[in-house]
Amino acid sequence: MMKGNKYAAYLFEVAWILPSVAIPISFLVAIVLTAFVVGIGVPGIGGRIDPKAISTTAPFDKPGVRELAPGRYEVVIIGERFLFTPKQIEVPVGSKVTFIMTSRDVIHGFKIEDSPINVLLVPGQISRVTATFAKPGEYLILCHEYCGPAHHIMAGKIIVK
């Protein structure tokens, strides 16, 4: 059946293969543009830290919100079973916030709803991520990496006003 139709079968193959290559490539172009032109980046290398010395290592000796410049903030957070320190933070609308975080014990997750902040807190590693909070409101922060029997109570809040 195919023998008499080799040419048609060949055309169908080409008609399938061309978009199979073109569609993923166009997706990739879109990703690279949003990442490096719009600036929606992913976590990278933030440095190492001794998890036993967190309380005496800057900036983790003073967890909390710090204003660096007008509209520019730094937030230092420590994750441990089953809480974030601090649990609740407040930043003004439109501010650009860099989160500097680590974990004291096991791996925790850190996801702020309706924002591009989604990162793991790993003992021994410093996580550093930045986002701009354009809309006022209260946003839930969740630990989304299983960390033990009370994992589901580990949450926090960021208030933007």
Binding site: V42, S127, L140, E145, A155
Partner: protein, 559 residues
């Protein structure tokens, strides 16, 4: 030149073959038995979770056997379903299919028994701490969460057992090759070997993680591990493992489903090209599971994302080839039109129907997978229930429903019993399809709404009413799947205990012929060295710098 296969045999000869392959059939049967026992327990745990999401809490009632409640159940669900069920089924299925395709028994039956023995011993070892709530670390076992050493040693033995099948297949292939110096390797046997070679290469990651970190650490021999290095070695194996699950389903879609659909495989060379691409591209892409990890450079995450898009291509080739094969079948059965031929396919045959439905849901699973791997877009979905929704379409349907579909023709051959009921089997396939569609759709939606995965959401203080409204459908979907699984097990138990022997037709393995055979492709498709060399080079390029960076800077001090 065509190779001799069971399909060329008369009914009486096919039946006689079961004596010749008695050991291989017994091994396949025992592996399937362990696999489906694991799935029964693992699946049951799944239903309990979906009920708990709706605040129907069954855990207090079963506390004597499941002291760890939701999270111990979740660990069992993951380990039993995606590690135990898949691995045992695959080893059994490939043992059967490779030997029948080569038309020769295993080169070493003793090694065949050793494979099953080592795997089962490892499973029993790992099961002890799992059942005692001493290994509630999920199937990803990321340190510093620590399990009892028996868990790590047991799982390592299961993996080591699987390597023995590769050794046996290579020995069998060499014996076959000596007698057929110029033939192309039969497609199903060749695909089985590609699957096992890919698996053996990629399990180097988890083997290194176990041997150099988790086992000595859990035994107290070393003070600490490096969690990001452990995750990197885990996903070195953990992404290709999805192809270890998927390729055996593809083996069925390429080699048997075309025949079951009444047609032929559209293109044998195209099938081989797609498997070679899987061999080469499956492993050097694991970092796309670690987009949110600190301690790994953004550039290597992006490179792995790009290569993941590359491995999407062989799946698209498979889609084209399998659908074209189904079209040949539909038209041969009198189907007409651009798409109306679909209705001419044998929808009254449960094995075909289960696998065709598995393919439909897999199309959505594949598209979702592309989103997961999309670098910064992963930030929207990482560790949300979107991910659980995703892999219930891939491993939970494309693989599991296909494996059930295969069981409907395979179990009669290896047990000599006729399938108890085709109607029950058809109902099983459709209920799985409907239940999973509901479950998975709403898990995806809830993930986009921010609901985390692997979380006892029914007990979470932040549970939102808008999540609860949709979790109802997740629960209904899970209950429908539970009914589907019940129909499957009922059918299997009634088949095994029935007194009706398999008919001559039951003994026929549905080998497909190819419209375009292996002779239409270049000889290089049948060679190993070039493809193995490319695989290793890509792994070294894509993983070398990240592994070097992690190992050279780590104090290995995380207790």
């Amino acid at each position: 030149m065509a190779t001799v296969r069971a399909s060329g045999l008369s009914f009486a000869q096919s039946r006689a073959e079961t004596t010749r392959f008695a050991t291989e059939h017994r091994l396949a049967g025992l592996n399937l038995l362990v696999a489906f026992l694991a799935l029964a327990v693992g699946g049951l745990m799944g239903v309990l979770q979906a009920l708990q999401y709706n605040k129907i809490n069954a855990y207090p009632a079963i506390k004597p056997v499941l002291t760890g409640g939701y999270y111990q159940g979740l660990a069992l669900h993951g380990v039993l379903n995606v590690l135990v069920f898949t691995t045992f089924y695959i080893i059994g299925w490939l043992t059967f299919i490779a030997t029948r395709s080569f038309d020769r028994p295993l080169a070493s039956r003793r090694l065949g028994w050793a494979t099953f023995g080592v795997m089962t011993f490892g499973l029993l070892m790992a099961a002890v701490p799992l059942l005692m709530n001493n290994a509630t670390v999920m199937f990803t076992f990321y340190p510093p969460l620590k399990a009892d050493a028996l868990f790590y040693i047991g799982l390592t033995l299961v993996v080591v057992g699987t390597w023995l099948l590769l050794v046996n297949l290579i020995l069998t292939y060499r014996a076959w090759r000596a007698e057929h110096p110029t033939d192309r390797t039969p497609l199903a046997a060749w695909m089985s070997m590609v699957t096992m070679v890919m698996w053996t290469i990629c399990t180097a990651g988890v083997a290194a993680e176990m041997l150099f970190m988790l086992i000595p650490w859990s035994l107290g021999l070393i003070p600490g591990t490096d969690p990001v290095l452990a995750r990197t070695l885990f996903w070195f194996t953990g992404h290709p493992i999805v192809y270890f699950w998927l390729l055996p389903a593809y083996i069925s879609w390429y080699n048997f489903v075309p025949k079951q659909a009444g047609g032929k495989l559209f293109s044998d060379p195209m099938a081989r090209v797609s498997f070679i691409l899987f061999l080469v591209l499956s492993t050097p892409i694991g970092l796309h599971h670690q987009i949110t990890d600190p301690g790994i450079s953004e550039i290597w995450k992006l490179v792995h994302a790009i290569f993941t898009f590359g491995v999407f291509f062989p799946s698209l080739l498979t889609f084209f080839n399998v659908v074209a094969s189904l079209e040949i079948g539909g038209r041969a059965r009198g189907g007409k039109g651009w798409l109306a031929w679909v209705f001419a396919l044998p929808w009254n045959e449960p094995s075909f129907t289960a696998q065709a439905l598995a393919m439909i849901l897999f199309a959505f699973g594949g598209a979702g997978g592309l989103i997961n791997a999309s670098y910064n877009m992963n930030l929207v979905v990482h560790n949300t229930s979107w991910i659980s929704g995703h892999f219930h379409l891939t491993v939970g349907t494309a693989v599991t429903l296909s494996f059930m579909g295969v069981a409907y023709w395979l179990v009669p051959i290896i047990t000599g019993k006729q399938l108890f009921s085709k109607k029950l089997a058809l109902a099983q396939a459709w209920t799985w399809f409907v239940g999973m569609s509901l479950f998975s759709h709403f898990m995806h939606t809830l993930g986009l709404m921010g609901m985390p995965r692997r979380t006892d959401i029914g007990a979470a203080p932040y549970l939102k009413p808008e999540w609860s409204a949709l979790l109802v459908y997740v629960g209904i979907g899970a209950v429908i799947m539970f009914v589907s699984a019940f129909l499957f097990y009922l059918n299997m138990v009634l088949t095994l205990t029935s007194k009706k022997p398999a008919t001559d037709a039951d003994y026929q393995i549905p080998w497909s012929k190819a419209a375009s055979g292996p002779e239409d492709g270049p000889v290089i498709l049948d060679r190993w060295k070039p493809w193995l060399a490319i695989s290793v080079v890509l792994i070294v390029l894509n993983y070398g710098p990240t592994l070097f960076q992690l190992i050279s800077t780590s104090p290995f001090n995380i207790p």
